[in-house]
């Protein structure tokens, strides 16, 4: 098991190296002189020289990359011109909001997906099954920014059920403030969960141990709780980890729509302020999240099913 974990960690190293290269080269995509682009209308010859020096733009490319890497490993991504503060501090301070939003929305998505998937699978081919599938296909077809605006309009403004912007004052109030954004996000990922869960439930429902359980006279609740749901949840780990990047994309949009000060809205906001270092770091953090979550998913999976670790 430990060897499997070690091997999995080693596999990540080339990916991390590649990710750092991509993030480094992102700034090279800026047409013209990055120093001039960073400064925009503030550009003066002295400032340009200072920024070129700070970014190390006059060094050979490989040396620039090594500099970038050694600074990055120390959490040094330079100073944000817009916030007049360390890029690292500005970005990391916003991470908790992003993480909370993601966890909350995954929980809501599961609450939505599990009963519907069970319903759909148990009544396969009947009207409820088709209705569920159509409903969730529509959910998948709605662009997140639009469903967010519509939900905010209906639940927030029209019916005044939930607040539509800001993170709240902590505790229960924050939970209430996060509900609408998390719900928006949950609606966009629940269809993916339903699809996977439905097919794994169908498999479990048809399995011998469920038939045996039923023949032995187990009541429906025990059967569902201890056998069916439990055995069909495993693929969910895979689905959530595989679609984690999609979830992050949705988070970026939702944070912006609902004015939540997370890393995603920071990324969008930094485009118009030309805070390229912030864009770099936000992109890096999101990629690292994907890598870490995929690793955790694999480890969790191996813990649940030790055959995987032994097999390879």
């Amino acid at each position: 098991m430990i060897r499997y974990f070690g091997g999995r960690l080693l596999q990540i190293l080339p990916v991390l190296f590649g990710v750092s290269l991509v993030v480094f080269f992102l700034v090279r995509l800026i047409p013209g002189d990055p120093a001039v682009a960073t400064l925009g209308s503030r550009a003066t010859p002295q400032l340009i020289a200072r920024v070129r020096d700070q970014l190390g733009l006059d060094l050979p490319l490989w040396q620039q990359y090594l500099n970038f890497l050694s600074h990055a490993l120390q959490g040094d991504f330079g100073i944000s011109f817009f916030y007049q503060a360390s890029v690292w501090d500005v970005t990391i301070a916003r991470l908790p909001i992003t993480l909370m939003l993601m966890v909350y929305s995954v929980i809501l998505a599961l609450i939505m997906a599990v009963p519907f998937a069970y319903w759909s699978a148990a009544r396969r081919g009947r009207v409820t099954d088709h209705a569920t599938r159509i409903l969730f296909t529509i959910g998948l077809g709605m662009p997140v920014f639009w469903s967010g605006i519509m939900l905010a309009y209906l639940l927030g403004v029209r019916w005044k059920l939930l607040p539509t912007s800001g993170p709240g004052d902590g505790g229960l109030d924050s939970l209430v403030h996060f509900t609408l954004p998390a719900l928006t996000l949950a609606i966009s990922i629940a269809p993916i969960l339903v699809r996977t869960l439905r097919s794994s439930l169908i498999e479990v429902l048809a399995s011998d141990y469920v038939t045996t359980g039923r023949a032995m006279g187990l009541d429906n609740w025990t059967l569902r709780r201890s056998y069916i749901i439990r055995n069909s949840l495993r693929p969910l780990i895979t689905v959530i980890t595989i679609n984690f990047g999609y979830l992050i994309g949705g988070t970026v949009i939702v944070e912006q729509i609902f004015s939540l000060a997370g890393v995603g809205s920071l990324l969008i906001g930094s485009i118009s302020t030309r805070d390229y270092a912030v864009i770099q770091l936000a992109t890096l953090i999101f990629a690292l999240l994907v890598v870490v979550v995929n690793l955790l998913g694999d480890l969790l999976y191996a813990l649940i099913d030790p055959r995987l670790a032994l097999g390879t």
Binding site: P14, V15, G18, V19, L21, V22, L26, V27, L29, I30, P31, T137, I138, L140, G141, M142, P143, V144, F145, W146, S147, I149, M150, Y153, V157, F244, G245, Y246, I248, G249, G250, V252, I253, Q256, L267, I268, S270, I271, S272, Y276, I279, Q280, A282, T283, F286, A287, V290, V291
Partner: protein
């Protein structure tokens, strides 16, 4: 039947034959898609209004028989703009699939066919690009290149070729061990001929099927970037941009936001109908 069919190189997918034998979801999907495409191409005949000309006397009119989806704050007919916008949004979907499909198929074919260090190198690159959340990397690239549709296409191509490469690589790995490919090699055919004439036609259908769901995703990503001001630029009619421009009028004129959003939902649904039908079809081809 399958044993025989497997040894005969299929000639890819032909559209007319596909439609005749296709499922209902595929037929309905293709028919609806055709209606949408025709409406976009012949937009001037579909609606009498101009998509960009201002008509301030008719601003913010609610939906009526004259203006099916009402008018926006500049008096432009929302339905007209939604129809014209299909030109841009479908173009985003089409280019967002076509360029990555071509690039990814070539790379995947090379990786799968030659194997060895070429394959491991390409595999590493694919792993790295997949590590980034799709939308985040597209936004980051467009943020650096500057807003606009061309840069959006560049970003979509740079990011999503890997998905096609992964699919085609897997197919190629399986196909190159088939008897008919080995036979072609024994006949002394060159690598290029074997790759293009014998492997490619059979490796590409799964990539096409994935392309359908990718099309819907690209339309959504395109609308999202335009919504953030990074894609299509005003006064161009584009669904995401229309929603961004009308967002502040949601309370007084909800139709200006609902119309373009519904257009995206409808296109996504039609695409998923076609995608499901195609997926069944390709599964059928594999036996």
């Amino acid at each position: 039947m399958t044993a025989v069919a497997n040894n005969v190189p299929a000639r890819g997918i032909r559209l007319p034959r596909l439609l005749r034998s296709g499922s209902w979801s595929l037929r309905i999907g293709v028919a609806l898609m055709l209606v949408i495409v025709l409406a976009a191409v012949f937009a001037p005949w579909v609606t009498p209004y101009d998509p960009v000309a201002l008509d301030l006397r008719n601003a913010l009119k609610p939906p009526s028989w004259k203006n099916l989806l009402g008018t926006d704050n500049l008096g432009r007919d929302v339905f007209t703009r939604v129809v014209y916008a299909a030109r841009i949004d479908l173009q985003i979907g089409a280019i967002g699939v076509a360029l990555p499909l071509i690039l990814g198929t070539m790379v995947g074919l090379i990786a799968g066919y030659f194997g060895g260090w070429v394959d491991s190198l390409i595999g590493r690159v694919i792993d790295v690009v997949i590590a980034f959340p799709f939308l985040v990397l597209v936004i980051a690239i467009v943020a650096m290149l500057g807003p606009g549709l061309i840069n959006l296409y560049v970003a979509l191509t740079l990011v999503s070729w890997v998905l096609y490469a992964r699919i085609v690589r897997g197919e190629t790995l399986a196909l190159k061990r088939r008897e008919y490919v080995l036979a072609a090699r024994n006949l002394g055919y060159g690598h290029l001929r074997i790759m293009l004439r014998h492997i490619l036609p059979n490796a590409i259908p799964p990539a096409f099927v994935f392309g359908m769901s990718d099309f819907a995703l690209d339309v959504q990503v395109g609308a999202t970037l335009s919504f953030f001001g990074l894609g299509a630029q005003p006064p161009a009619p584009e669904w995401g941009l229309m929603i961004a421009e009308s967002r502040s009028m949601l309370l007084s004129a909800p139709w200006t936001v609902i119309g373009p959003g519904l257009a995206i939902v409808v296109v996504s649904l039609v695409i998923s109908l076609i995608g499901d039908g195609l997926a069944d079809k390709v599964r059928g081809l594999d036996g």
